[in-house]
Amino acid sequence: MKNYLKLSVLMLAFAGILVSCGGDNKKEEKKEKITLNQAEPVKKEKKTNKVPASKRVDLDNKGVGPITSVDLPADIDKAMAAKGKDVYEKMCTACHKVDKRFIGPAPKGILERRSPEWVMNMILAPERMVREDPLAKDLLIEFNGSPMANQGLTEEEARQVLEYFRTL
């Protein structure tokens, strides 16, 4: 929706320019278009001091979804993590690379910023999260409106993936 809005603002601006140009010199018109279009976003962009959603730390937020509490023992369960790695590679790597931003954010270090419940809810109920969790909503916008796909993981599989994330 927002994208459409932006697009229409741009188109309006563009149309206005065309009309005002009068079109007597085609070459000039082209140049003008380019400079103006580049200038446009600068004018529009409202700089905020907000930390991008992906960098925000919010360890209290459990998110919304089926998971209300997760116990993380001090020691990582290696067997569970290995299963999680397998699930992650099959179901998640189309959009998430371990240590760099891709379509979505990298899972490395995620538990320094998010609660385990939030992570699992994002995996298990992404549609609800982007609707109801403000942080997930901001993430969706930060990541170009690219929705987190619900890959139909079971709770057990999501838990395994979480364990794998602890090893990263």
């Binding site: 590679e89 189309a94 959009c95 409106g145 796909a149 993981l153």
Partner: protein
């Protein structure tokens, strides 16, 4: 203008009230003018319909899925025709579905859907439907609403008295409308009489898997076998076929096949024939017919040519077949829910003929025959007749039943549905159809337990019922409330193609089993890439296999170089999504083919043979997310003699 309409409405209302006919329990006289008609078909936004209706597409070759009572179209299921919308019949995986002994056939004429049954009641597992032109029977799986099997029917032509199932889906039956030489041979058409045969095929259905296999073909005299229905209850084990052209004419049938005062209903005791076969009866005849099966795990169809079929000479199985004289080219052949009555609607007869199964059994027992046709005993009309519905209308075609002992027959010429009572044969009600009705459907119509809430009529002529759309119009259908004494017209709705029969079922028998997506972990397609790590491009000579994946919203890989003019490029696309209703599409410029529409977890393949050097885009055709417009990629096509290496990538510049 509006005021005028209102006035007319008020006048009509006043007229209705003044009628004050107390025998009419329901205010059915108002028909669609009655405001309650709107309420009866109104399914509020977000609400779901009570019934599924599977309506044949006729010359579209497909099957459409509607909701009742709303008349909303949910899906067109491709069956016998190529369907560019999804790539059915275009993708490498589904091309084998349309293979026949005549080669690949891109089109079909689908007629009579019937829902599988257990103990005489529709069970919502499969829909069977026949192809009339190049005889085939298809099975549609109601978990996926996809065509999963097609079997060709040899020795048949004009596969019309099909595809009706017995009460435990032991068989789906396919009878030939056109008799032909069996086996086919180069003889003069003038040798029709005696040389041409009508094959009635009994196709066994495997109980668990639904797989079809022709158990036997009964080689009957060269009549036209028009429609059929199974016995049920006491008459379970029998199958009934209407015949016309018992004159055995091969030319100007319009006149020559309407000479006999009576044609026949052929009653076939298939249990008796089963016994005969179990004792080694019948002959294996060399043949050639396709059996095409689609596998949901590999998402791929395979076509196998079968080389023989068991044929049965009816005269060699005593007690297996009898002929019941039935007036004037009967069309519909319908059996009452209790299996006691067989209704044969003589197209050219003024009366409806109803035979009694009990009287038939009696006549057989007493060996009271009225002659024979090619060695098959003919019973006497009077001996088997249960009753006649007299002067009910003009041009009777088909009959369905409700759960209260009533029958509903369509009349093509007088354009109406007539309700009459089984046993007393009296006409109870009649309602016009718009226009020239063919079949009609009541949910569970071909079963022991029809559901007498709605009936819909499928009409052959539309004329002025909808806004005009040029000379060609979709066919009209009308939905009636049949829960009361009188039928009440509720709704007009357009149908797609030319519907012949339709089968309807309570939604709760089907909807809970409907699959939401295919599990990636169960995908056994040999060219599937089940994660982006498995994507690759492989060259084998001038054949290139692209193992590609989709997910919201990118292809992987989305940049490919090293393709050359003259290559044959197979795009094997796996949709990695694992969620309900997230298909992705695939189309590439200059493709001499359709797009692919790939369901979550599915792999589909399209062939592209680039003819021009350049850099060519491909994209997702299904609006899949806010970034759908970004879901695209490029392929570089170099000259045939170029030495550019194969290279593929995705998002190398992503930081």
């Amino acid at each position: 203008m509006k005021i005028l309409n209102l006035c007319i409405g008020l006048l009509a209302a006043a007229a209705m009230m003044s009628c004050g006919d107390n025998t009419n329990k329901k205010s059915s006289a108002g028909g669609a003018l009655n405001s309650s008609a709107a309420e009866k078909v109104y399914v509020a936004p977000g609400e779901q319909d009570e019934y599924y209706a599977f309506i044949s597409g006729g010359y579209s070759g497909n099957l459409t899925v509607y909701g009742l009572p709303s008349g909303r179209l949910f899906k067109e299921i491709p069956v016998f025709s190529q369907f560019p919308t999804s790539g059915y019949g275009y993708s490498e995986e589904t091309k084998p579905m349309l293979n026949t002994s005549h080669g690949f056939i891109p089109w079909g004429d689908s007629h009579h859907p019937d829902i599988s049954q257990t103990e005489g009641v529709t069970d919502g597992r499969w829909v069977f439907i026949n192809e009339n032109n190049t005889p085939r029977i298809a099975r549609i799986d109601l978990e996926t609403f996809e065509t999963v099997e097609i079997i060709e029917v040899p020795n048949s032509a004009g596969n019309h008295s099909s595809s009706f199932v017995t009460e435990n889906t032991e068989y789906v039956v396919a009878g030939t409308r056109f008799s032909v030489p069996v086996p086919q041979q180069d003889i003069s058409i003038k040798e029709y009489k005696g040389k041409f045969k009508g094959a009635l095929s009994f196709i066994g259905v495997e109980k668990e898997t639904g797989h079809m296999d022709i158990k036997f073909q009964l080689l009957m005299p060269g009549f036209n076998y028009d429609l059929s229905h199974p016995g049920r209850g006491d008459s379970h084990g029998w199958f009934f076929f209407t015949t016309y052209n018992t004159e055995e004419a091969s030319t100007l049938l319009e006149v020559n096949a309407s000479q006999n005062d009576k044609d026949f209903i052929a009653a076939v005791n298939w249990k008796k024939i089963e016994e005969y076969i179990n004792n080694g009866g019948g002959k294996m005849m060399p043949s050639n017919y396709a059996h095409n099966v689609y596998d949901h795990n590999s998402h791929t169809a395979t076509s196998t040519m079968k080389k023989e079929v068991r044929v049965i000479d009816p005269t060699e199985v005593p007690g297996a077949v009898y002929l019941l004289p039935t007036p004037k080219s009967p069309h519909g052949c319908d059996v009452s829910p209790d299996g006691k009555y067989i209704v044969g609607n003589g197209k050219l007869s003024a009366n409806l003929t109803v035979h009694s199964f009990e009287k038939m059994q009696e006549a057989i027992k007493n060996e009271k025959f009225d002659g024979e046709a090619y060695g098959i005993p003919i019973l006497s009309f009077e001996d088997v007749l249960a009753g006649q519905v007299e002067q009910a209308g003009l041009g009777p075609l088909h009959t369905e039943f409700d759960d209260k002992g009533n029958a509903y027959t369509t009349f093509f010429i007088s354009s109406e549905v007539v309700k009459w009572k089984l046993g007393t044969w009296e006409v109870i009600d009649r309602k016009p159809t718009y226009y020239s009705v063919g079949h009609l459907t009541i949910a569970g119509g071909n079963s022991r337990e029809p559901d007498g809430k709605y009936m819909f009529a499928m009409n052959k002529i539309t004329k002025d019922r909808y806004l005009p759309t040029g000379p060609e119009l979709e066919h009209s259908a009308q939905l009636y409330d049949i829960s009361g004494e009188k039928m009440e017209l509720l709704l007009d709705f357009p149908t797609h193609g030319e519907p012949h029969y339709a089968a309807a079922i309570k939604a709760d028998k089907v909807a809970p089993n409907s699959k939401k997506f295919y599990k990636l972990s169960e995908n056994t397609h040999p060219f599937a890439a089940k994660s982006e790590a498995e994507t690759k491009v492989v060259r084998e000579g001038n054949v290139v296999h692209v193992y590609m994946t989709t997910i919201r919203s990118h292809f992987s890989p989305d940049n490919i170089e090293g393709i050359k003019v003259g290559d044959k490029v197979y795009f094997h696309i796996t949709n990695l999504e694992q969620d309900f209703d997230v298909p992705h599409g695939f189309a590439i410029i200059g493709q001499n083919n359709s797009e692919l529409l790939i369901m979550p977890g599915q792999t589909k393949t399209s062939v592209w043979e680039p003819k021009q050097v350049g850099v060519w885009p491909f994209y997702c055709t299904d609006f899949c997310s806010a970034l759908h417009q970004e879901m695209q990629g490029y392929i570089r096509v170099s000259p045939k003699d170029s030495d550019i290496e194969l290279e593929w990538s995705l998002g190398e510049d992503v930081e």
